[in-house]
Symmetry: D3
Subunit: 66 residues, 6 copies
C-alpha cells in the first residue's frame, strides 16, 4: 500500500517516447491524465495503448484553483 493518496485506475490512451522522457496519457473515466516519466520506466513497464494502469499522484503535488 502506497502513501500517495491519489490513485486513479484507467487505460493507456497514448505513449510517446523521447530519448530520455516519455509522455503517457491515461484515460480515467472521462478525464485524461498526462504523465511524464522516464523512457526507461515506460519501457520497463512495457506501456502500450489499451493497458490497464493506475495514475498515481502524491498529494503535495496537487494545487487548487478557485
Amino acid at each position: 500500500m502506497l502513501s500517495a493518496r491519489n490513485q486513479f485506475p484507467g487505460v493507456v490512451k497514448s505513449v510517446k517516447l523521447g530519448n530520455v522522457m516519455a509522455e503517457v496519457v491515461v484515460e480515467v473515466g472521462t478525464l485524461e491524465v498526462v504523465s511524464l516519466i522516464s523512457r526507461t520506466s515506460a519501457e520497463q513497464l512495457n506501456l502500450k495503448v489499451g493497458d490497464s494502469v493506475t495514475a498515481i499522484i502524491k498529494s503535495t503535488e496537487v494545487m487548487v484553483a478557485k
Copy 2:
C-alpha cells in the same frame, strides 16, 4: 492558460487546516483528489465545502503503475 495539463473541475468535499498546511479533498466526478497546500493559500482562496474548484497537477508529478 496554464502549462499544467491536468486540470480537473470538481467540488470541495473537505478542508482540514493545520498550523502551516491544509488538506483539501476535491470530488472530481467519482474520484476524490487530495491536495496538500499551505494554510495561507487555503485561507486566501477562502476554500469551503461545496466550492467549485479545479484540481491542478503538473504532468511531471504523475506516476504510472501497471
Copy 3:
C-alpha cells in the same frame, strides 16, 4: 485564483523543444527562471520569445539554502 503562491510575471527569453519536453527560460526582472514542461504544453501555449508569461511554482517545491 491558483493556490500556488509563487507567481512571477516575466518575459520568455528562450524556448527549446525536445521530442517530449521543452525548456522555457523566463526573465523575471533581473532573474532567469528555468521551466521544464511538456513539448505539448509549450505548443498549446504557443510560447515564443518575447511573450508575457507568469512563472508559477508550488511552495512545497521551494528549498532554502543558508
Copy 4:
C-alpha cells in the same frame, strides 16, 4: 554546484513553525518567494528573519501561464 537551475539569493522575511512543517518567506529583490519545508530543516538551518539565504527550485517544478 547543484543541478537545480533556479537559485535566487534573498533575505528571510518570515518563518512560521508548525508541528511538522515550516513556512519560510524569502524576499528576492521585489519578489516574495514562499517555501514549505520541514520544521526540522528550518531549525537545523536556524532560519531567522533577516538571514541571507538562497531560494532553490528544480526546473521540473516550474510551470508557465500565458
Copy 5:
C-alpha cells in the same frame, strides 16, 4: 509495478504526526531517508517504528550536486 525508479527498502525509524502532515524517517541501510506525507496517509498505513517499508521517489525529483 510502479514507474518511480527509486524504490528503497528500509525500516521505519521514527514517525512524527502533525495536524495535517507527518514526518517519517526510514533507515535504508546506512542512509536515513526523510519523507513528508499526510497524517492521514501515515495513519492509513499504520506506520510504526520498526515497520518494513519502501521509500519511493520519482526520478524527476532527484537533483545532483557535484
Copy 6:
C-alpha cells in the same frame, strides 16, 4: 547548507543526454538513484561516469509504501 534533508553521496554510473533532459544514475552504496535533470544542468556540472556527486531529494517528494 541546504534544507533538503535527503543528501546521499555517491558516484555517477551513467549519463544519458536527450535534447532537453538528461538521465543520471548515481550509485549510492548498493543503491542506484536515478535523477532526471535538464541536459543543460548535466552539461554545466560536466557530469561524467565516475564523478563523485551527491543525490539530493526534498522530503516532500518521498513516498512510503508498506
